[in-house]
C-alpha cells in the first residue's frame, strides 16, 4: 500500500495574509478511498489549506500533485474540473434561490447558444438528490427559509451530487443533530467504498475515531504530523494540536461564586429565543453551549438590547430593569464582546487607542474636547494590563493579530468597568498563545468579582473554563450542569442536541 502514489499531495504550502502567516510549509497526503482527518485548533490553518485546495485562495509557495501530476489550482472551476469538491464551513448557499437551483448552481444543465435552463429539469434533479439522501426538504423551497441544519444538509447534498474524487468537509456536523451525523457518517463510508477520498475536518473526536483512517495535525499554521487513526490516542492528538499540556492553557477561577446578581425570567424574542430563564452569580464564568442556530447569540443580543424582547423580565441585584437598547445595557453595567470581531466588535481601520477609548469618551472630556493626556494614560493602562502587543497605540487595529485585536476589544469594555461581561466566542480564530492570555484575563476578572457569560462552540473551552454550563437547543435552555464533575463532553453534547431521547444514536457511531 505505502508505495502507491497518493491521489493528492500538497507540498510545502505557504500562505501569508497581512499581519499573519496563515500557513508555513504545510503538507498533506491523501490516498484514494481514504478518509483523512485534518485536525487543529481554530486558526491553525485548516480552512486556509482547504481554500487553497478548492481554488479559492492561491498559495504563495508550494506544489500540489494530483494523481501524480503537478497541477496549478488557480480557480474554483479548475479544482472542480479535476474532481475536488469542498463543503465550506461558512454556509455557501444563495438564500434568495431555491434548494434545487442552489444544488446545480454554477453547472446548470443548459441548452443552445442562449444557454437556456429548464426549471422543471433543475427541480427534478434537485429533488432526486434530496431523496437520495432521504432529506425531508422541498426542492422548490427557498434556502433562506430553511433551518441552519437543513442548509448544511443541502450543502452536503450539493457536493455529493457531483462526480468527485476528493470531497472536503469543513466542520460538516457543527449544526447537525446526532441523527443527521449518523446519516452523514454512513454516507461517508459509502463514498470510501466507491473509492472517493474524503478530507474531514471536525473537532468532535468521537467522529474522527468512528470514521477516519488517518489524521494530519496542524498547529499555528505549521505541520505537526500525520498518524494512522488506529495507532493514536485522544491524548496524543490533543497534545499535538495544542503543543502543550491542557492544564497549562486553561485557568479556571478558583474562588467560589458569590450571591446571585443577575437574572433573566421567561425571555423570548424573535423565533430563536423561547422562554429562557437563568441566573448569574457574582464572579462566576457561566458557559453557554449550543449548536449553530440554537439561539445562544440571539439570546445574548436580546439581553444586551440589540434585538427586541417580546416578553420576559430581567433583574439586576433583585431589581427589575428595562433594557431597550445597548445604551441601557451599558448603563446597567453590562458589557458585550460580540462574536464577529470584524463587523460588530471593533473599528478595524482606526487605531488601537481610538478603539479602547471609544466607549468611555464621555468620561474623558474636559471642556469641549477629549483630554488627550487622560486618554493616553487610560489606553496605556490597558495595553499594559492585557499585554496587547502593538508597536504603538496609534497603530491601526487591523494590523494586529486576531488575539491582540480581541484583547483591545475586551479593553474597550473593561474601561467601562462592567459588572457583567458577555463574551461571544471570545477565542474564535486566534492562536493558542493568545487564547491562553485571554483565559487568564477572564479568570482574573472573575476573581475580581466580574460575572462572565461565555458563549462558545468550542467544547474544550466550555469544559475547562466554565464554573457552570447551560446548554441551548432550538431556542430553549435544554440543560444546566452545575457540578464540576457533571461538566463533561458527553453530558454537554447530550443536552445540546435535544436531550436524552437521541442517546441511542450515540452507540451507533
Amino acid at each position: 500500500m505505502e508505495n502507491i502514489t497518493p491521489l493528492l499531495q500538497m507540498k510545502q504550502i505557504s500562505k501569508s495574509f497581512p499581519g499573519v502567516k496563515a500557513l508555513d510549509q504545510v503538507r498533506l497526503e491523501v490516498r484514494t478511498g481514504e478518509v483523512h482527518a485534518l485536525l487543529g485548533e481554530n486558526g491553525a490553518g485548516k480552512s486556509t489549506l482547504i481554500k487553497i485546495l478548492g481554488g479559492v485562495l492561491v498559495p504563495d509557495e508550494g506544489e500540489i500533485y494530483f494523481d501524480g501530476t503537478k497541477v496549478e489550482i488557480k480557480d474554483v472551476s479548475f479544482s472542480e474540473s479535476i474532481g475536488i469538491s469542498v463543503i465550506h464551513q461558512e454556509l455557501c448557499l444563495a438564500p434568495n434561490m431555491t434548494v434545487a437551483e442552489n444544488i446545480v448552481l454554477g453547472r446548470e444543465p443548459s441548452k443552445g447558444p442562449l444557454q437556456l435552463v429548464n426549471t422543471k429539469e433543475i427541480m427534478q434533479f434537485g429533488q432526486k438528490i434530496l431523496d437520495q439522501f432521504e432529506l425531508d426538504i422541498d426542492a422548490g423551497e427557498y434556502v433562506g427559509n430553511l433551518t441552519v441544519a437543513q442548509q448544511q444538509m443541502v450543502e452536503i447534498a450539493k457536493a455529493l451530487s457531483k462526480d468527485n474524487r476528493i470531497i472536503v468537509m469543513d466542520e460538516p456536523t457543527s449544526s447537525l443533530t446526532e441523527k443527521e451525523v449518523v446519516k452523514l457518517l454512513d454516507t461517508i463510508r459509502g463514498l470510501r467504498q466507491k473509492g472517493v477520498s474524503v478530507i474531514y475536518i471536525s473537532h468532535r473526536m468521537e467522529e474522527l475515531f468512528a470514521i477516519a483512517d488517518k489524521v494530519t495535525i496542524l498547529r499555528d499554521g505549521t505541520y505537526v504530523g500525520t498518524r494512522n487513526m488506529k495507532d493514536t490516542s485522544y491524548q496524543e492528538m490533543v497534545q499535538m494540536m495544542v503543543g502543550r499540556e491542557l492544564s497549562e492553557i486553561y485557568a479556571k477561577p478558583t474562588v467560589q461564586p458569590g450571591e446571585k446578581i443577575f437574572e433573566v425570567r421567561n425571555l423570548s424574542s424573535g423565533t430563536r429565543v423561547k422562554n429562557v430563564s437563568f441566573s448569574l452569580c457574582k464572579g462566576e464564568i457561566l458557559g453557554f453551549y449550543g449548536l449553530v442556530g440554537s439561539g445562544r447569540t440571539e439570546l445574548m443580543r436580546t439581553i444586551f438590547g440589540i434585538d427586541k424582547a417580546v416578553s420576559g423580565d430581567i433583574y439586576l441585584n433583585q431589581n427589575k430593569i428595562r433594557i431597550q437598547n445597548p445604551q441601557d445595557a451599558i448603563n446597567c453595567g453590562i458589557g458585550f464582546v460580540p462574536e464577529d470581531r470584524k463587523e460588530q466588535g471593533a473599528i478595524l481601520i482606526q487605531s488601537v487607542a481610538y478603539n479602547i477609548s471609544l466607549s468611555v469618551l464621555d468620561n474623558l472630556i474636559k471642556w469641549f474636547q477629549v483630554d488627550r493626556r487622560q486618554e493616553d494614560s487610560l489606553v496605556d493602562e490597558y495595553i499594559n494590563k492585557l499585554s496587547i502587543r502593538t508597536p504603538s497605540p496609534e497603530q491601526k487595529l487591523m494590523n494586529l493579530s486576531g488575539g491582540n485585536q480581541q484583547k483591545a476589544i475586551i479593553s474597550k469594555w473593561l474601561a467601562m468597568k462592567p459588572s457583567i461581561l458577555i463574551l461571544d466566542e471570545p477565542t474564535r480564530g486566534i492562536d493558542v498563545g493568545a487564547k491562553k492570555e485571554i483565559y487568564s484575563i477572564m479568570s482574573a476578572l472573575a476573581q475580581s468579582g466580574v460575572s462572565i457569560i461565555m458563549v462558545s462552540s468550542e467544547l474544550p473551552e466550555i469544559i475547562n473554563m466554565s464554573t457552570r454550563v447551560i446548554t441551548m437547543n432550538q431556542g430553549e435552555i435544554s440543560g444546566e450542569l452545575t457540578m464540576e464533575s457533571e461538566i463533561t463532553q458527553e453530558n454537554i453534547l447530550t443536552h445540546a442536541t435535544g436531550g436524552l431521547k437521541n442517546e441511542s444514536e450515540f452507540s451507533k457511531l
Binding site: G54, E80, N96, M97, L105, S110, L116, T119, G140, G144
Partner: protein, 333 residues
C-alpha cells in the same frame, strides 16, 4: 444573510397550493402590494378626471413610460447584483447625440440607429470593466461615467441641439403599429427579453446568485467579473436604446436630455420590489413600478396639479409604497 432572511418567505410558493404556482397567479400574489397601489391610483384618477380612462390617454401613458421602463429594466440587473448605474441618463444623451450626428453625416438610418445603441453598450462595458478590473465601487464608477458621458455629448454638439428629419426615424418615435405606439412595442419586447434572460437562462440564474450570496457564487465556480461586466453592458445597451427612441421621438438631439432619468429608473426598480441588498426582484414588478410613476405623472397633470407639488407627491408615494412592502415582508415571517 441572517438579516435578510425575513424577505425570502414571501417568495416561496407553498408546497401543496399548486394553483399558486401558475405564473400569472404567482405574479399577482408576489406583487400584491404595488398592484393594489397601481389599481388604487387608476381608480382615483378615473373617478376624479373625465379624460384619464380613455384609450388614447392610456396609450399615451404607456408611451410616456416606455423610455423610463426600458432604462429601469437595465437598472434592475445592476441592482440585483447589489450595484447601481447612475450613468444611464447621460448615456441616453450620448446615444441620442450619436444617432442624430451619424444621420447628419449622411450615414443611412439603420447603421445610425445601431450606432446609437452600440455607444450605450460600449459605455456600459467600460463601466463594467472599470468596476471589475479596478475594483472601484459601482456608485463611483458610474457617477464618473455620468459626468463624462454628459461632457462627451456637449463636446460633440458644441452644446447646441441638433435636429434631423427622416421618415423612419419619425415612425419609430411617433408611429403606430395598429393602435399601439411603436415605443410601447419596443418596451414590451424589452420586457419580454429581459424577463426571459433573467428567468430562463443560465446567465440570469447567475445574476441572482451573485446578488444573493457573492461568496457562494464564487465558490460554485461562477466568474463574477464576467457577470458584472455583462450586467453593466446590458444596462448601457438599454440606456442607448432609450436614447435612440428619444432621438426618434423628438427628431433631434439635445446634450441636456436625460438628466435625472437615473433617479426615475431607480424609483421604478425599487417600487417594483427589487431589494437593494441584492438577489430579489423581477422585471414584471419593475414594469408595474414604472407604470405607477407614469400614472401619477399623467393623472396629476390632468388634475392640473403644479409640477412642484407633483415632485412632493411622487416622493411620498415612493417611500410609502416601499414602507408598506417592507411591512408585508416582515409580517410573513
Amino acid at each position: 444573510m441572517k438579516a435578510n432572511s425575513q424577505s425570502y418567505s414571501q417568495l416561496a410558493p407553498k408546497k401543496k397550493d399548486s394553483w399558486k404556482k401558475l405564473p400569472v397567479v404567482h405574479f399577482v400574489i408576489s406583487n400584491s402590494g404595488i398592484l393594489i397601489a397601481l389599481i388604487g391610483l387608476i381608480l382615483f384618477f378615473a373617478l376624479t378626471t373625465s379624460t384619464f380612462m380613455t384609450t388614447s390617454n392610456i396609450l399615451n401613458v404607456l408611451r410616456q413610460i416606455s423610455i423610463n421602463a426600458i432604462i429601469a429594466f437595465g437598472m434592475t440587473f445592476t441592482i440585483l447584483i447589489t450595484g447601481i448605474d447612475l450613468s444611464v441618463g447621460s448615456i441616453l444623451a450620448a446615444s441620442q447625440v450619436i444617432t442624430i450626428g451619424l444621420l447628419f453625416m449622411g450615414v443611412p438610418i439603420v447603421p445610425a440607429l445601431a450606432g446609437g445603441i452600440l455607444i450605450g453598450g460600449v459605455l456600459g462595458l467600460i463601466n463594467g470593466f472599470v468596476i471589475t478590473k479596478g475594483k472601484i465601487p459601482p456608485f463611483i464608477v458610474t457617477l464618473s461615467m455620468m459626468i463624462m458621458a454628459r461632457g462627451f455629448s456637449y463636446v460633440l454638439t458644441g452644446g447646441r441641439p441638433m435636429s434631423f428629419n427622416n421618415e423612419i426615424l419619425s415612425f419609430i418615435g411617433n408611429g403606430y403599429i395598429g393602435p399601439i405606439p411603436v415605443p410601447v412595442i419596443i418596451m414590451v419586447i424589452c420586457l419580454i427579453i429581459t424577463s426571459f434572460v433573467l428567468n430562463k437562462t443560465k446567465f440570469g440564474r447567475h445574476v441572482y446568485a451573485v446578488g444573493g450570496n457573492r461568496e457562494a457564487a464564487r465558490f460554485s465556480g461562477i466568474r463574477i467579473s464576467k457577470i458584472e461586466m455583462m450586467v453593466y453592458t446590458i444596462s448601457g445597451l438599454l440606456a442607448g436604446l432609450s436614447g435612440v427612441i428619444l432621438a426618434a421621438r423628438m427628431s433631434s438631439a439635445q446634450p441636456t436630455s436625460g438628466s435625472g432619468f437615473e433617479l426615475d429608473a431607480i424609483a421604478a426598480v425599487v417600487l417594483g420590489g427589487t431589494s437593494f441588498s441584492g438577489g430579489i426582484g423581477k422585471i414584471g414588478g419593475v414594469f408595474i413600478g414604472a407604470l405607477i410613476i407614469g400614472v401619477l405623472n399623467n393623472g396629476l397633470n390632468l388634475l392640473h396639479v403644479s409640477s412642484y407639488w407633483q415632485m412632493i407627491i411622487k416622493g411620498l408615494v415612493i417611500v410609502t409604497a416601499v414602507y408598506v412592502d417592507s411591512l408585508k415582508k416582515k409580517k410573513r415571517t
